[in-house]
């Protein structure tokens, strides 16, 4: 699209936004709740469209897409959306003109999408609309499908709302078109540190930038999760967390820290390897590009060489490098290979886990933890201090609740301006 076309679309959604703000906020909220309920329904047209088109567009296997959507959207309902509004804004009344504690969305929000995982796209498009802010969406190059399906679902649910959504396929290197897009009053951007920095340099106050950088997640296991049936269940859950979206998400664990030493880490690595082999049968890994394959092969060979050098390192891997588990001999940060490559590292005890995580705190998103018994509460608190914004059980990482405070902040609040009216006088 040309810069002029981007400007025109931005102007059009701004105009449509004024109509949106001219009706009760609960009407919009109900419509958006209906959209979420529709995506949540596995028999809905929209779910079918995503499940049909995403494998080809994104490279994820069909089974992975189906399972990933099913688990992630199970809790993303209209009721969950209304609860989110109540929790963060105090209810839809805050969105009405003249509310004493008002939450005001921006006149228009530009949403710059990244990656090919559909749930962040869905929520990134819906959240500004909850605040009655129309959206102009730049799809990710890796997923041209989801934003269009979401836009059509919104239009089908509520034509007025549908006019508040526009899509602009702006190439990242097209500076004039990007500048036109970034002229929106609020900019939501997801991407690498470099991408975020580039966008931030072009979004000056009073416009608002709501940025989400790339993140990583981990698992932490205590003694109670490293033996017997508990271990089998935990390994199955972690394999699911790793396999879904081929370990490309910020909630995909890249490493498992095991309190209890090498023997416990060995048991966890073996159980996780077996579970990943089973996961590969149910949810095969999708396409892997040359860069991903090269890094995967490099990191596996590097671990094999350390083992050959006499280090206490074990490498377990599936056929055709479909997955790899490296049982490390320390918890030193190493490159993230993704594509179902997991490092299992022994740490001395629960207290050592936070020390191991500390170098990663700037990038940390979620931690799946189990097996710490009475020490679990203290560890969870320590993990929060280390930067974790989500702590859950193994197997739950890929199903964050709708109100997960990603980046340690609200879902809606960063997109709003708040105003407190303390008088009934007009002026």
């Amino acid at each position: 699209v040309t810069p002029a076309e981007v400007e025109a679309r931005l102007a059009a959604v701004r105009e449509a936004g004024s109509r949106l703000r001219g009706r009760p906020a609960w009407v919009t909220l109900d419509a958006l709740g209906g959209v979420l309920d529709a995506f949540r329904d596995p028999r809905s047209r929209w779910r079918a469209e995503l499940e049909s088109a995403l494998p080809e567009a994104t490279g994820f296997s069909r089974a992975t897409v189906r399972e990933g959507l099913s688990r992630a959207l199970a809790g993303w309902s209209g009721d969950a959306l209304r609860a989110l509004v109540a929790r963060e804004l105090g209810g839809p009344a805050a969105l009405e003109p003249g509310a004493p504690r008002a939450a005001v969305g921006f006149d228009a929000t530009a949403v710059l999408l990244a990656g090919s995982i559909p749930m962040p796209t869905l929520l990134s498009m819906l959240a500004p609309l909850v605040l009655l802010s129309p959206v102009l969406v730049k799809p990710a190059s890796r997923d041209p499908v989801t934003p269009r399906v979401v836009a059509r679902a919104i239009a089908a649910a509520d034509p007025v709302l549908g006019e508040c959504v526009a899509i602009a396929d702006v190439a990242g290197g097209d500076a004039p078109a990007m500048d036109a897009l970034l002229a929106a009053d609020c900019v939501v951007a997801t991407g690498s540190d470099a991408t975020i920095a580039q966008v931030a340099a072009r979004v000056a106050a009073p416009r608002r930038l709501v940025a989400a950088g790339h993140r990583l997640s981990l698992a932490a296991l205590g003694d109670g999760a490293t033996r017997g049936d508990a271990l089998a269940a935990v390994a199955e859950g972690l394999a699911l967390d790793v396999a879904l979206w081929d370990q490309q998400g910020c909630l995909s664990p890249i490493a498992v820290l095991v309190a209890g030493g090498t023997a416990a880490a060995d048991r966890v690595a073996a159980a996780l390897a077996a579970a990943l082999e089973q996961a590969e049968k149910r949810w095969p890994r999708g396409r892997i590009d040359a860069a991903g394959a090269a890094l995967f092969a490099h990191e596996r060979a590097e671990a094999e060489l350390r083992a050959a050098a006499g280090r206490s390192v074990a490498v377990l891997s599936g056929a055709d490098q479909a997955w790899c588990v490296v049982r490390e001999d320390d918890a030193v940060p190493r490159p993230v290979a993704s594509n179902r490559f997991v490092r299992v590292a022994p740490v001395g005890n629960a207290g050592s886990i936070t020390a191991a995580i500390a170098p990663l705190r700037r990038h940390l998103a979620g931690v799946a933890m189990a097996g710490f018994g009475a020490d679990g509460m203290a560890l969870a608190a320590a993990l929060v201090r280390c930067g974790a914004s989500r702590i859950c059980a193994p197997g739950e990482l890929q199903a964050p609740p709708l109100d997960w405070r990603h980046e340690g902040r609200g879902v809606l609040t960063p997109l709003a301006r708040f105003a407190d009216r303390e008088t009934h006088e007009a002026g």
């Binding site: 994104t58 490279g59 990244a114 990656g115 090919s116 995982i117 962040p120 990710a140 190059s141 890796r142 190439a171 990242g172 290197g173 991407g191 690498s192 540190d193 470099a194 989400a212 790339h214 993140r215 990583l216 979206w245 081929d246 370990q247 490309q248 998400g249 910020c250 995909s252 890249i254 040359a290 860069a291 394959a293 090269a294 890094l295 995967f296 092969a297 490099h298 990191e299 060979a301 590097e302 094999e304 060489l305 350390r306 083992a307 050959a308 050098a309 006499g310 280090r311 055709d320 490098q321 030193v332 940060p333 190493r334 490159p335 993230v336 290979a337 993704s338 170098p359 990663l360 990038h363």
Partner: protein, 373 residues
């Protein structure tokens, strides 16, 4: 060649003899024979490498062709000393730039003779092909001198080049870790006025250092037109050191601020773990397609990362380097870089400009960010 082991000394001597031949040329048979002999030596003398090869079912007796020599991943140099002598006997240890989060790689050398014998002919052939025998060039280096950064292979390389090929006006323009902008601009302005005489002019350094130089020129509103003999060599990336930019943007800025066109800017592909370097062909083969060329004593294979089999011509794969200058460590190195064959050389395929990650998980190079060394 000063190594304690006679077998190793003999191998070093064969490599150095080839490197010092005035018209050293590619020779497949010579390369293959020396590679296999060197592999046998390294298999015998580098225990981690031997066990690594054995784990792959490979021994010197089973390898009939240099392409069958198992490559070690470059990242392993961050984890352990890979050398064919006791590490404490190292005369020099070059280290990778390192990061705030991850360890630094280290190349142990018990002699600098092979390293220096390898670097000079490549440097001269690809950057100063017009330098007359016995003449010297003006070499301005945008990197710290070796005495400031003794564990930097890049600084060492520049130091050797200045020593062996540079004239009296050559030198280093980064002092105390900072670009000496005043000196750099004065030197360049003098060259613009013809102060360098007729000696070829080479401005070389790390890409991020060029960004600092260009910023300094921009701040002063200065655009130079350096003599037509001027050329640039740049290498490495920007991570955490300067504003990121594409190679095209960098070359365009160099053209605008220094008056040196892209056809006279050569990129060097090298890494601390390698004794040899690979240069763009633009200066040694002007007019031919830009691609990286290897010295006769090094070979690059582009392989399928999963199977290790050779990629088809033109197909993107992982870069594996076989470098006979790596006599004291391991000659075969598997990188995590991508490339493709191109007209007898190869291209390095960077991450596609503007390419997005598949998801929101952190990428390896982001975790690697925040260079400290």
């Amino acid at each position: 060649v000063s190594t304690a082991d006679p077998a190793r000394a003999a191998l070093d001597a064969r490599a150095v003899a080839w490197m010092r031949e005035p018209a050293a040329a590619p020779d497949a048979a010579r390369f293959g024979a020396l590679a296999l002999d060197l592999f046998a030596f390294q298999f015998a003398h580098c225990a981690p490498y031997r066990r690594f090869c054995e784990g792959r079912g490979t021994t010197p007796a089973r390898v009939r062709d240099w392409t069958g020599i198992p490559p070690v991943p470059a990242g392993a140099f961050k984890e352990l000393p890979l050398c064919c002598f006791p590490p404490e006997r190292a005369l020099k240890v070059f280290r990778t730039s390192g990061t705030a989060t991850l360890a630094r790689g280290a190349l142990h050398l018990d002699t600098l003779e092979v390293y220096e014998a390898s670097l000079l002919p490549s440097f001269r052939r690809h950057l100063l092909p017009d330098l007359a025998e016995g003449a010297r060039a003006r070499i301005l280096v945008l990197a710290p001198p070796p005495d400031e950064l003794p564990d930097s292979s890049l600084s060492h390389m520049f130091g050797v080049a200045v020593r062996e090929l540079g004239d009296a006006g050559s030198g280093f323009l980064v002092k105390g870790g900072e670009l000496d902008a005043a000196t750099a601009l004065a030197a360049l302005a003098d060259l613009e006025r013809g102060g360098g005489g007729v000696a070829p002019l080479l401005v070389c350094g790390a890409a991020f250092a060029f960004v600092h130089l260009l910023d300094a020129l921009a701040e002063r509103g200065v655009s130079l037109r350096l003599p037509g003999s001027a050329r640039v060599m740049e290498t490495g990336g920007f991570k955490g050191r300067a504003r990121e930019r594409s190679q095209g943007e960098l070359y365009a800025e160099i053209g605008a601020r220094l008056g040196i066109p892209p056809a006279r800017i050569a990129n060097q592909y090298g890494m601390t773990e390698l004794g040899s370097q690979f240069y763009d062909s633009v200066l040694s083969e002007p007019g031919a397609p830009r691609r990286k060329l290897s010295p006769p004593w090094a070979r690059v294979r582009i392989v399928d990362p999963v199977t290790g089999a050779a990629s088809r011509p033109g197909e993107v794969g992982a870069i594996v380097v076989f470098d006979l200058a790596n006599t004291g460590s391991v000659l075969a190195i598997q990188t995590a870089d991508l490339g493709r064959e191109s007209a007898g050389g190869f291209e390095v395929i960077g991450r596609e400009e503007g390419a997005e990650a598949r998801g929101c998980s952190i990428a390896a190079d982001e975790l690697l960010g925040g260079a400290t060394g």
